[in-house]
């Protein structure tokens, strides 16, 4: 078969493998003209790289470094400024990056089941409380688990936040008892709610309920492994 110019280029770029690679190598061994093509590709690449290399080797301007370092703070302050003048500035020390850009989108129709059960989580919320780990939950999860910890009786509790409601649920013999609920019903009006303010309320509620430190990733995994039961 004939070797196309594209294949030579792909070979020079290190993109070939398997059969195609063997074909080109065989053709190159037999044809000096093809080898010259590969050399031309490599020479061009070397020229381009040499051209741009000095830029990556020069010190980065101070202004750009400041933009990275200072920018993070500016973003957080801006987020604070947009929030209602609520208490608890400490919430940003807690969860700054996670909260800063999190805007919870109300998902119409999601989680309606929660409202039927009054004191216990059901449906998607119960499922998230049972199966979602802080460390591995996806960024856009409909229910976000904020933190897991032990409550006054040593039982496992978890702070959560979703488009519909936020709060704290603690595990008992019946299931996840909602010990603190914040917000709710925003899906009915189709409003967008900024996650941060409710999250901050949840976090300060946790401070009142928690007995001991928050669970780390391993602690959460263990607790989930035991189905959140404490005997």
């Amino acid at each position: 078969m004939t070797i196309s110019k594209d294949m030579i280029a792909a070979y020079a770029d290190g993109e070939l493998e398997g059969e195609a690679l063997r074909l080109v190598e065989a053709a190159l061994a037999a044809d000096p003209a093809l080898r010259a093509e590969v050399d031309a590709h490599r020479a061009l690449k070397a020229r381009l790289c040499a051209h741009f290399a000095p830029i990556a080797e020069t010190p980065v301007p101070e202004g750009l470094i400041r933009a990275v370092k200072g920018g993070a703070e500016v973003v957080d302050f801006a987020t604070v400024a947009r929030k209602p003048a609520r208490p608890a500035p400490m919430r940003f020390a807690w969860f700054g990056p996670a909260l800063a850009a999190s805007l919870v989108v109300a998902l119409v129709g999601y989680g309606v089941s929660q409202r039927s059960g009054n004191d216990y989580a059901v449906g998607d919320l119960a499922a998230a409380l049972d199966h979602q780990l802080v460390a591995t939950q996806p960024t856009g999860a409909p229910v976000r688990i904020l933190l897991s910890f032990r409550g006054g009786k040593g039982q496992f509790c978890r702070g959560f936040s979703s488009a519909l409601q936020a709060g704290v649920a603690c595990r008992d013999g019946r299931g996840w008892k909602l010990v603190k609920r914040i917000g709710g019903g925003s899906a009915e009006t189709g409003e967008y709610r900024q996650a941060g303010s409710a999250d901050a309320e949840v976090l300060s509620a946790i401070q009142d309920i928690a007995q001991g430190p928050a669970l780390d990733a391993q602690g959460e995994r263990n607790a989930m492994g035991a189905s959140w039961r404490t005997e």
Partner: protein, 183 residues
């Protein structure tokens, strides 16, 4: 429960530490990437001051969207994608503003960092690159200078691999012609 030394403080300290770790990982990632970002920006923007403006805008947008970056995924291709999107948007606006009175050939100057004797050749490369359509130039830079695979480069440019490949082929052929590297 003890009011001041209670669990609240434990949790707060722990969460603070976690959040600081995440934040530092992100910031450190950005800082480490800056030299490469400038190199890519210089190829796109055609001169260093413009390249640094592009870097600045990229950093700002990245910090605003940092929640979209998933820890554990590659921060470099994420940043490159942000940068090329800004560059495409800005480029369209700028082209509309500038087209009438600036010749495309006028933009050269990346080679300012080289030695005097290299300058002529460096300027040739700048001129040749400036003649390529934006998308071809981008493909050439991503693969030949930044060393991305076709697939990674396509991910950054937001196009299918086949499209990236044909932009690269056309861009590279044009460069070879302009620079006198015949295949």
């Amino acid at each position: 429960m003890d009011e001041t030394g209670g669990p609240g403080r434990f949790i707060r300290e722990r969460a603070k530490k976690l959040s600081a770790q995440q934040s530092n990982g992100f910031e450190d990632g950005l800082l480490a990437l800056l030299p490469r970002m400038r190199r890519f920006a210089a190829g796109l923007a055609r001169n260093l001051p413009e390249a640094d403006d592009l870097c600045q805008m990229t950093i700002e947008r990245a910090l605003r969207s940092r929640a979209q970056w998933q820890a554990g995924t590659r921060i470099d291709s994420w940043m490159y994608r942000i940068m090329r999107n800004i560059w495409i948007d800005e480029g369209r606006a700028k082209t509309r503003r500038m087209q009438t009175f600036v010749d495309a050939d006028a933009g050269s100057g990346v080679g300012m960092s080289g030695g005097q004797e290299e300058r002529a050749e460096l300027t040739d490369i700048d001129r040749a690159l400036a003649k390529l359509p934006d998308e071809q130039r981008e493909a050439v830079l991503l693969v030949m200078v930044e060393g991305y695979s076709y697939k990674e480069a396509a991910g950054i440019a937001g196009c299918p691999v086949g499209t990236l490949n044909s932009r690269l082929v056309r861009g590279r052929d044009a460069l070879m012609g302009l620079l006198g590297e015949t295949g």
